[in-house]
Amino acid sequence: MLDISPQLFALQLMTGIALGAVYALLAIGLSLIFGMLTVVNFAHGAFFMVGAFLGVYSLGLTGNFWFSLLLVPLMTGAIGLVCEKFLVRPLYGRGIDYPLLLTFGLSYVMVDVVRFTFGIEGIPSSTPESLRGAVFLGFGHFPLYRLFLILATALIVIALWLFIEKTRYGLIIRAGSRDPEICKVLGIDISRVWLLVFGIGTAIAGLSGMLASPTRAVNPEMGIPILAESFVVTVVGGMGSLPGAVLAGLLVGVVFAMTSLIAPEFAELSIFVLMALVLLWRPQGFFGKAGLMS
C-alpha cells in the first residue's frame, strides 16, 4: 500500500523530533509547576499563545530575533509571577481542584485580552532571516528552523538541568518539592520558592510559544489544542518529572509523525490512545511523581 523509503522514514523521524521538542518544553513547564506546587496549570496553553504574540510583536519592534528570545520568557514569566501571587496563592491548601479551575478561568481571560489587544484575526509570523531555508541531511532536505528548534530545546533542557542540579536555588527547589515543611523549619521562605517556580514554568511556556511561532499561524485560539497535547505528554512522562517530560515529549512527537505517515487522519487520536495505554499499564506515567529529578 505505501512505499516508505528509508529516507522518508528518517525525514519523518526528524520531523517527529522537532514536533516533540515543542511538546517537551511545554511539558517541562507543566511538570515543574505541578511537581512543586501541585497546581495543574490550565492556563499553560494561554501562556504559550501569549509568548507567540509577544515574540512576533517584539520581533517586529526590535528586528532582533535573539534579543526577543531573551525578552519574551522574561515577560511571560513576569505575568506568571503576578498571577501566582494574586490569584493562585490564596488557593493553596484548598485542594487540587481550585487552582486548576482558577487557571481555567484565567485562560479564558488571557485569550480575550489578546483578542482585544491584537485583534481577532491573529498576526502574520515568519521565520527569521538567518534561519530560513533548508539543510540537506543526507536523506533529504529539512527546514533549518526546525533543526534550530531541536537544538534550542536541547540547550534549554540542559540549562534547566544545570540550574536545578548544580545551583543553590535548584537545591532549594528540589528540597521544597520533597518536603515543604522541613524547608520552612529551616528558614526558607517557601512561598518565594513557589513564586519563582511558577514564574519559570510560565516563562518556558512563553518561550516555547515564541519558538513555535514561525512554524504555525499565530492567533488567539492557538493555545487550546496545544493544551490537551501538553497534558498528554506531561501525564505520560509522569507529572512532576523533568526527564519524563522530555522523553514523553519526544515519544509523542514521533508517534504523531509516524502515524501521520501511515494513517494521517488518526494522528491526533494516536496520542490519546498512547496516553490511555501508558496510564493503564503504568498509572503514574513513566517516571511517576516522586520528586522532580528522580
Binding site: 525525514l11 520531523t15 481577532i120 532536505h141 512554524t215 501521520s260 494521517p264 494522528a267 487520536l269
Partner: protein, 415 residues
Amino acid sequence: MSSQLFNKHIGRRSIVLGGAAAAVAPAWMGVARAQNTPIKIGFPVPLTGAFSAEAQDQVKAAEVAVKEFNEKGGFNGRKAELLVRDDKLNPGEAATRTLELIEKDKVDFVVGSLSAATQLSINAVCRDRKIIFNSISQSDAINEAKDWSMYTFHEALNPHLTAGAVARYAFPKYGKKLVYLTADYAYGHEMVRGFQRAGQAMGTQMLADIRFPLGTSDFSAFLPRIQSLKPDVLVMCNFGRDQLNAIKQATDFGLKATTKIISPVLLFTARVAGGADVFDGVVGGTSYYWGMEDKVPAAKAFNDKFRKAYGGAVPSDYGALGYAGVRSVLQAVLDAKSTESMKVSIALRQLRYNWYKGDQFYRKCDHQSVQSVIIVESKSKGMKDKNDVFNVVHIENADEKNLRTCDELGHKVST
C-alpha cells in the same frame, strides 16, 4: 322578560351594527399593527471564535441590504430589522440561538451561518418550524434531499462547484499529477470529490489523498511524504486557519519550488491576516472579490454602497454573501407581497437576480443559487493598497451543469 329589557335599552339594530363593528375592528386593528411591526430577519453568525472577522463582515454587509430596503420604503411601510446573534461556531449553540430567534423574537426569516455544521443545525430547527432559512456558507450536504425542505435555501457556493471550477482552470494549466492535503471532515471530503469529478474528465492522476485531523496546526508531519511524491499540483482541501498553517509550512519546506499550490476557497480575510509571502502564487476560488469591479458593473455598484457605509472599506467574500442572502429574501417578500413563509418560498424559487456579481437564480430541486465562481491568484508584488491582494485570473460563469444533478442529491422530483 329579558327580551323586553333588551329591546328597551339597546335595540337589535345597534347590536347588529355593534357586532359587525366588533367583528371588523380586530382585523382593522390587526392590519394597523402589522403595518407597524418590522420584518424581522434572524442572523446567527459566529461573531466570536476563529471566523469572527468573516462573520463581522457578513453582519456589516447584511446591514447595508437592510438599510437599502428600508430607504426604498420597505414592504407596505414595514421596515426590515436584522437580529444578529452569536452562534460561536458551535452547532448546539446555533440551534439554541435559532430557537431563541424563532420562539422569543418571533423572526419571520433566518439568514446566516458560516460553517457547514452550524448551517445544518440552523436548518434543522428552521424547517421543523416552517421558517425560511437562507444559508450563506458552504456545504454540499444542505443540497441533499435529507436536509432539504421548501424552506431551505442556499445562497452560498458549495464545495463541489468551487472545487470543480478551480480544477477546470488549474489542472490543464499546471499539471496532471496531484496530491490532496485534506482536512478530515465532511467539507474536506466534499472538496476532494469536487476536484476528482472534474479532474477525472481531464485525465488527472491522484498520487495521494492525505487526510489530517481538523484543526491541525503543525503540518510538518505530512510534508516530507508530499515532498517525496513530487506532485505537479498540491491541492489544499482545507479552509481558514488550517489552510493558512498548511500553506505556510509547505512554503517552509520548500514545496513551492516544484509544486503549484491550489485551493478551492481562498478567503480574503485569511489572506490579509496571513500576509503576502505565505500565499504568494497560490491559486484558488472565491464567491466574490472586490477587485472584479472593473470587469463587472454590479460589483462596482455593490462595492460603492459598502464603501459609502463603512468609510472606504471593501467587502469580503463572505460579506457579499451576507448582503445577497438578506437582499434575496427581502426581494422575495416584495414579489410575494407577503411575509408568509410558503409564499415567500415560491417567490424565491422564481427569483432572478443580480445583486453583486452577475445573474443568479435558485435551482428548483435543491434551492441552490446557481452563480459564477471567481478564480484568483494571490500576489505579493504590485499591490496598490492593502486590499489589493488577488489578481482575478478567470471567472467561470453560472452554469447549472457544474452542480451535482438533482437525482444524485436524492431529489425525486424536480418541480
